[in-house]
Symmetry: C2
Amino acid sequence: MPKIVDHEEQRAHIADAVTQIIIRDGFDHVTMRQIATEAGYAHGAISRYFPDKQSLLTAAFLQVFNASHERILTLVGPTRGLSALRIMSQQLLPFREKSAEVSRVVLSFWDRAAQVPEILEVHKRTITQRRGLIRRFLQEAAEDNELHPSVDVEEAINRVSVFNAGWQMLAVLTPEDSTGRHVTASIDAMIAGLGTERSNSSD
Amino acid sequence: MPKIVDHEEQRAHIADAVTQIIIRDGFDHVTMRQIATEAGYAHGAISRYFPDKQSLLTAAFLQVFNASHERILTLVGPTRGLSALRIMSQQLLPFREKSAEVSRVVLSFWDRAAQVPEILEVHKRTITQRRGLIRRFLQEAAEDNELHPSVDVEEAINRVSVFNAGWQMLAVLTPEDSTGRHVTASIDAMIAGLGTERSNSSD
């Protein structure tokens, strides 16, 4: 009797194995053999789904990205504006050990996106999705009169994107500056810089 | 008559060739043979100075880092505080095509620093140097009563580091959002968020 195989589940399982190896050993050390061992699959099962290392990295990145995107939407729920933006940053920034670890996947993905046009395309799709969510929160903030009148929404999308991207680097490379206290202070300052309340702070 | 060789100059020349190849083809495509061709040296001349790809990447990164560090110090001259910080950001951010290109070297270096302890050590030395300079400018701003009283210098060092790092990513991966106008607006917002004048903006 043929075993019923859930291909989506197998792909996700392999992508997860790739993430674990990147966190433990780094992407340069990812081999098909190692992934097969980590995932508990035969060597051929891996290459059937993913023909090369690039497709494995892309799968690992998309899994990390989609999981954080879903988590943000769930946690935000009906929350709007700057409060929603805060929830987003709390999910993306290296608050918990696990999110600092997955930043390693992000760093490897960025480096390859800079080199491989197909990976850059995937990056563009995800960054468009992320920027769309940031735009939504900022527009809500503007509608609710939370946004400082001097803040231009499109420029602020860049500001928040730069903020999130910069923290991925710090999470991995200077973890001593990326503790919960530092990250909280940083999010507070970022949100304060966007809000109408900034002019009242400590004056 | 033996040719007099300036080893420092040869190393710098090779590091420059590596940077050119990273910009053109990406670090994954760097080979000893290609560097020899690019630099106009014999194959053996490269490996005499740099035993492996990691040492080549490190040399290319240090050249980029040291050049920008020297350029900042020269341009800052006697300028202090937030004005000096602005000059620094203008040098580090992707204003000119060339600075966006060298961000590719930075991205590759970060990814390897996350994987190789010796490269992480080099990164730590450079980040300590950079943070020291940011600290100096912020302390000057505090002494000159330019800094908003709610701003903590150590937290602000993180804020500026995150800002600079985040822009390296945008420069490479979303160049369409990294034009001079966007970058200028972003630096203005970052500086305004630190200064005493922020409470006066557009109220």
